[in-house]
Each structure stands twice: as C-alpha cells, then as structure tokens.
C-alpha cells in the first residue's frame, strides 16, 4: 500500500475506548462511530482521545447527533485544551457510502480530517486498524467523487502507558482474563524471568549457529557483541565496595522506616491510654 501524507500515531487509550463503545452499542446497530481528538503536527497526527457519538444508520439515510458531538467536544476541551477534532472513527471493515456523508460533516469541523476504521467484528481474522484521508477525484466540474487514501498507522505510548499496557497484556494469557496487581519483589522476579527467557532464546540461537544449523548473521553477531560489552568491567574489589555501600544505604533506610513505624504505633498506643 503506497502511503503518502501524514503518519497517524494512535495511543492505546483510543483503541480501548473504541472497543468499549462497540461493546455497548445499541440493539440493532451494526457499527459505532465517534469523534477523534488529538494534535496535529507537520508530518504526523497524534490521536490521543476519542468519544463515541450516537447515530442511526439505515439503508438510505444516516443521522448523526451533531449537537451531542459538539457538546462532548466542549466538555473535553475544558479538560485538555490542546486537543482538537482531527477526524472520526467507525467500527467495521469497509468504508460505506454513509461514511462519505459523515466524513463531509467532519470536514466542516476540522481541516482534512482522518477517518479511522477498526474491524471489531474481526472479519479478516484480526482486528485491522486503518486510517484514511479523503482526496478529491473525478473530473473537475462534472462528476466529483471522494476517494479515501490510506495512511500509515503507528502506535505510540507514553512511558507510563507502556507499562500500563504491559500489565494489561499479561491478562490475555490467563484463562479467566483477570489479573490482580502485584507489587514488591515479585515484580522484579517477573522481570528477571522475562530477561531469562530472552537470554535462553538467544543462547539457543547461538548454539544453532555454532553447530552450523543456522547461517550466522553478522548484524545479530554485532548486537551480541554490544550486549556482552555492556556489562561494565570493574575490578572485583571496586564492585564489591560499591555493592556493599549501596546495600548498606538500603538497609539503613529500611531500618529507619521500621523504626518510624514502631514510633508512631507507640505514640498511638500512648495517646489512647
């Protein structure tokens, strides 16, 4: 697919909200539409928020509650004044004729709006998320039509979002789709386990290369070299010193906080005497 024009960067919040609205759609509605909010850059459009708009769709006509859309946008603007309407979304696989009409409405709200489709019905076996921008086509002056040209879609995350999404990812492997939030040392353990998994995969690959089963790839070799060099070479004594001082710091802090807790507990008991 040849893509030209701005890159569309989507935050996972938007996708989750769209799925959410799709699950809550009215009886009989086959798809949901809504407004996309975000910021526009020179070469990219960042979609950071969205809200769904009630609409009715039948064979020959489509009605969108524009009053509602305007209202919601006002409310959202109060919270994040930097977000503007940058387009709209629809669930479903194809672009229908109604989409053209809706797109026209949105062109009035924003310059060059983008149209995002998300296949929540999983028609093609996966949830394909695509973005389009409209372009004029046809013979000027006579029959003019609108063509939707696709754009590249990228997912971007804030750091904290990444970590949140990480946790959510873990729920998908559990049978009943639930997960409690863990804390403390067990999380370090989880990260270490993941690291270990990755190392095992790499070791298996290296073994294969050494025994000649797989052809050696130079770039991979270079990465491996970088990796091994990343472990800093410090003399054992220096490292021992650093480690010990760090551990001492941490132990002292733990001791102090335990002391403080004991202190306030004591104080409490004394007051209640």
């Amino acid at each position: 697919m040849s893509v030209s024009g701005p890159v569309v960067k989507i935050h996972p919040v938007v996708l989750a909200s769209i799925c959410d609205s799709y699950e809550r759609r009215n009886e009989g509605a086959s798809r949901v539409i809504g407004t996309l909010l975000g910021t526009v850059d020179k070469h990219s459009i960042e979609v950071t928020n969205c809200f769904s708009v009630p609409h009715n769709e039948s064979e020959d006509e489509v009605a969108v509650d524009m009053e509602f859309a305007k209202n919601m946008y006002e409310l959202h603007k109060r919270v994040s004044p930097t977000e503007v309407i940058i387009g709209w979304y629809a669930t479903g696989f194809d672009i229908t004729e109604h989409s053209v009409l809706i797109h026209e409405y949105y062109s009035r709200e924003a310059t060059n709006p983008i149209h995002l489709t998300m296949d929540t019905a999983l028609q093609s076996g996966k949830m394909s998320i695509r973005a389009y921008v409209s372009a004029q086509m046809g013979v000027p002056g006579k029959t003019v039509g609108v063509m939707f040209t696709p754009l590249t879609v990228k997912y971007v995350y804030y750091d904290t979002e990444r970590i949140g999404v990480d946790l959510l990812q873990r729920t998908r492997v559990l049978p009943n789709r639930t997960k409690g939030l863990t804390s403390d040392l067990s999380q370090v353990g989880c990260s270490a386990a993941r690291l270990q998994d990755m190392l095992t995969t790499m070791l298996a690959y290296i073994d294969d290369v050494l025994s000649g089963k797989v052809a050696a790839d130079n770039s991979v070799g270079r990465f491996l070299m970088d990796l091994v060099n990343k472990v800093p070479t410090i003399s054992a004594e220096d490292f021992e010193n650093m480690l010990n001082s760090n551990i001492n710091d941490l132990l002292m802090v733990t001791y102090l906080s335990n002391l403080t807790q004991a202190q306030i507990a004591l104080n409490e008991k004394l007051v209640l005497l």
Partner: protein, 327 residues
C-alpha cells in the same frame, strides 16, 4: 469495556477495573499533571452482586484562576448525561486522584471520600502513583474509609476522648481494596494485535538500578511529616500537662473549701456557698486528633513505600552482582 477493575475487601464488594479506565487515568496524568499538582477525575461503573465494577471514567479539569465561575457540578452532570446516551454506565462509584510520592493522606481526601461514601456505600478512591509506575510497575491502589472512621466523621467529633472510645489507630483509617483487572474478549483480541505491532523496547524500566533520587525525595517527605508529627506531639503534651495541672488546682481548691467550711462550722458560721468549680477553672481546649491521625497515616504510608522500594532495589543489586560475578 476494556478490563474492569474489581476491588475486593473481605466482606465488602470486590472491585473490577477495566483497561479503558487504567489507560485513561494514565493518559490524564501524563497530559495534564506535569508538576506536583494532583489530577482528579470521576469513576463510573456499577455494583454487581458483591463486586464493584468500574467501567469508565472521566477527568476533571484543573482549577485555574480564570475559571473562577466554572461550575464543577454542571460539568459532571453534562458529562454523565452525555455518556448515558452512548450506553456507558453513568453511575458514580468513586473518584481517582494522582499522588506525588505517595502523599495523599490529607484532610481534603478524607472529606471528599467521606462525602462519596456517605452517598454511595461502596465507593472507593483510586490512587494512581505515576512516579512509581514510571519505574516499571503500575501502581494503582483503591482505598475506602473504614466504618469506624465513617462514624467519627459523621459525628464530626475529633476530640481525644471520642477517638479513644472508638479505638481508632492510624492503621484503621483506610482499608485497601484489592483490584482485579478483567478484560473482555474483544479487548483481548486488541491486545494480541498490539503485541504484534509493537516493539519489545522499554519493557524493563523495572530493572533500573539507580535509586538514590527517588529514595532521597521519599525520605525528604517523610522527614517533613515526622517534623509535623513531633510538633503535634508537643502540642498534645502541653495540653495534657495543662489538664493535669488544672486537675491539681481544682483538687486543691476543693480541699481548701472543705477545710474552710469545717472551720466555719466549728465556729458556728454559715458555710461559704458552693461555687461553680467548672466555671472557675475552664478546661483547656483539647487539640483535635484528626490531624495527628492523618499525619500518622501518612508517615505509615511513606514508610511502607520506602520499604517496598528498598526491597526491590536489594533484589536488583543482587542480580547485578550475579551478572558481574560471571565476568
């Protein structure tokens, strides 16, 4: 709706949170909350059997000076009405707030949570710690006031005697409600898709070794609170000393009176009239204990956080040692 957060606390409703909620809260903080201000918002959901399901949320705008006539209630009403049109649960079940290094135990929070819990019994406050999350683990905790504390707040009586009667310590103020994230199948599919398309980068913030900055700030806040606490203790001590001095004075006065009366009786004179003792010795004002409780709770919270952090770091240090050992 993406995952639902379910919170569970003993006999109280569990809480199920959804993905959308988690992501929205994170995003809200990221965009609006740079700096040390807190961001707040409302949680929507419903109560199902013994669970509290939180299915959506919307943020509150920041208070700015030029928004003096901004009507919060109206904003809330509008938002909920609009959300109802798109079939989103519009029942108010709680609120969320971001926190700076774990310092959220304050009078304001107590008051807000009390008014929420008074209106809706199962409501909770979700505390989101963005700094801890940035370090690698999502930090979302749900709290509610214990029934004992609710009673006290209702009475608005914060004197020491009342608190003693109710036997409230700082660990009985808030109870934490465990949270479970539940996903719907559609969101599951979305997650698989995202996993495909995204890179593996940045998943290991948690294994970062540098700790001193975070530790410093936490300890600084802890010290401030402990200072506050010691001031409070001094106040309380002076109060109890005054009280006991006054008791002694009263005692002495009564003794003198009875002595004089017996003397007068022996001389045949009418006894002196009994004067109202309480009017003469006005009891000193007992200091309100609620602030102390809050400070104690806050100090406890800081200590917990610090301990968690140090235990994690110890683990990481040992891992680094193992790595070095192989060199």
């Amino acid at each position: 709706t993406a995952s639902r957060l379910h919170a569970f606390s003993g006999s109280f409703p569990r809480q199920w949170l959804t993905d959308t909620v988690v992501l929205k809260i994170i995003k809200h903080y990221q965009e609006e909350g740079q700096g040390s201000e807190v961001v707040q918002g409302v949680l929507l959901g419903l109560v199902v059997e013994d669970r509290l399901e939180i299915t959506n949320c919307f943020p509150f705008p920041q208070h700015t000076e030029d928004d003096a006539d901004f009507d919060e209630v109206q904003y809330q009403m509008e938002m909920m009405r609009s959300l109802r049109h798109v079939n989103i649960d519009h029942l108010h079940v709680g609120w969320y707030q971001s926190t700076y290094y774990g310092s959220f135990v304050s009078r304001a929070l107590l008051d807000s949570q009390f008014s929420y819990q008074h209106a809706i019994e199962e409501s909770v406050v979700l505390i989101y710690d963005p700094i801890k999350t940035a370090q690698g683990s999502l930090s979302l905790k749900a709290y509610r006031l214990t029934p004992k504390l609710m009673e006290i707040c209702k009475e608005k009586d914060f004197t020491p005697e009342c608190l003693k009667k109710a036997n409230i310590g700082f660990e009985h103020m808030f109870e934490e409600v465990p949270i479970i994230i539940k996903n719907s199948h559609l969101i599951n599919a979305l997650m698989w898709d995202l996993e495909d398309k995204s890179t593996v980068a940045d998943k290991h913030e948690l294994l970062n070794l540098s700790s001193s900055n975070h530790l410093e700030k936490s300890l600084q806040l802890l010290m401030d609170r402990v200072d506050d606490m010691s001031q409070d203790i001094v106040k309380y001590n002076t109060y109890s000393r005054n009280m006991s001095k006054q008791q002694q004075q009263k005692h002495q006065y009564v003794q003198r009176r009875t002595q004089e009366n017996t003397q007068r009786q022996s001389r045949g004179e009418p006894p002196l009239p009994e004067e109202d003792i309480s009017k003469m010795f006005k009891p000193p004002q007992p200091p309100p204990r609620m602030d102390t409780l809050l400070i104690a709770g806050q100090v406890n919270n800081y200590c917990q956080n610090v301990k968690e952090f140090t235990s994690q770091n110890l683990g990481k240090l040992f891992m680094a040692e193992a790595l070095q050992g192989h060199n």
